[in-house]
Amino acid sequence: MLSFYLYLATAALLLGVGSLGLWRGPELLRRILALNVIGAGIFMLMVSLAYRPVLYGEPADSVLHALVLTGLVVAVSATAFALALLGRLLARPQ
């Protein structure tokens, strides 16, 4: 039970850390990383939620796992697109 709340707290704090990075930047790349950290925080929250039944001796929530998997792919796609845009932006002659 304690670890469940520990992971929940970590998720919340990851959100905070990510938001801090998103606000501060200053580089765009770091902002993109920050978005990923926020995403990781949300996924951690979801996975911790999926872990809840385990505490009661049942299997983990597979629907949430599937959602996180979908979320992960969406996140990596978005990151890849953002990085491609960033790459072009930086490579462009000023």
């Binding site: 919340a12 990383l33 920050a34 950290v37 996975v47 792919v73 890849a80």
Partner: protein
């Protein structure tokens, strides 16, 4: 007790890595720390009994995102320095928000609502696969997965709109030979993951991501000259997952008694899912590989 200690250390490590990545002076440190963070996340997923996610995170989160970030990092070489950003104002604000969030997540009831899980377990038998995550992904919520494949494709399409040249270094002979050795293993491994996905953790995404890393390694070592969007076969494979998905959906709609989009007939469900997953794996692998390595040379095509 030992597990709790492990949890505490892991969480502390995760937060430290993330915080350091956000606050580090140099971007290269930030990226490195972020990759380490990804690896630790995979560990955390494994700890939280989400092996599917651990596999996916290890391949996608840590591996591919890291590669992408380093590619972008190379561009920052000539970039002028940035003024040191303010720390305290954002910190105070973010601390307040985090406190709020902390308070909120502690409001989450510890008692889970299990109705949905029960429903999944109930219908697992007729879903065509025995691994619940795969069943959710490719049967119960297949529409999400289809759209998600579309998101992945879009990332590639979007990235193709903004090509930027990175010089490909001539292959280092040792790495070339290693890559030749490594990639068949990766191929085998990913096929295994795919196959396993029907019954146990694993599946299209994990397999695709693994395969993609193999392709990327080979491509970076000057292999696989055919790996280009211009190649019709590659294009077909990139789109294969979606095409198979849509075709399967439409075909099953044509079957008698099937009146709803993306409902697989019970008898065929396993086969359809395997078919879709196989093509999806190939599509994911090629898409991710193309996203990382880009095109050999670009020519803007007009309509």
């Amino acid at each position: 007790m030992g597990l709790l200690l492990f949890d505490v250390v892991l969480c502390a490590l995760l937060l430290t890595l993330a915080g350091a990545a956000m606050l580090s002076r140099q971007l290269v440190h930030a990226v490195t720390l972020f990759i380490a963070f990804g690896v630790m996340m995979a560990l955390a997923w494994a700890r939280l009994q989400a092996p599917d996610l651990a596999l996916a995170e290890a391949a996608i989160g840590a591996g591919l995102t890291g590669a992408l970030c380093f590619t972008a990092l190379a561009r920052y070489a000539g970039d002028a320095g940035y003024p040191k950003p303010k720390l305290w104002l954002p910190l105070v604000f973010v601390a307040a928000v985090s406190a709020l969030l902390l308070y909120s997540v502690f409001q989450i009831p510890a008692q889970p609502t299990t109705e949905l899980s029960e429903r999944v377990a109930e219908h697992l038998a007729v879903s065509g696969v025995s691994h619940p995550v795969t069943a959710v992904l490719l049967n119960f919520r297949a529409w999400d997965t289809l759209l998600e494949l579309l998101v992945l494709l879009l990332a590639l399409l979007g990235a193709r709109q903004v090509p930027s040249q990175l010089p490909l270094h001539a292959g280092w002979s040792l790495s070339v030979s290693w890559s030749r050795l490594l990639s068949p293993m990766l191929l085998l491994l990913s096929a295994y993951l795919l196959w396993r996905g029907a019954a146990a953790p694993g599946g299209a995404f994990q397999a695709g991501a693994l395969l993609a890393s193999g392709l990327v390694i080979l491509r970076l070592n000057q292999q696989l000259a055919w790996l280009s969007w211009q190649n019709f076969a590659v294009r077909t494979l990139v789109l294969a997952g979606l095409i198979a998905f849509v075709m399967a959906g439409l075909a099953s709609l044509l079957l008698p008694g099937q009146l709803v989009w993306l409902s697989w007939p019970v008898a065929l469900a396993g086969g359809i899912i395997l078919l879709v997953e196989t093509f999806a794996t190939l599509a994911i692998a090629l898409t991710l590989a193309l996203l990382v390595v880009g095109e050999p040379e670009q020519e803007p095509a007009d309509a």
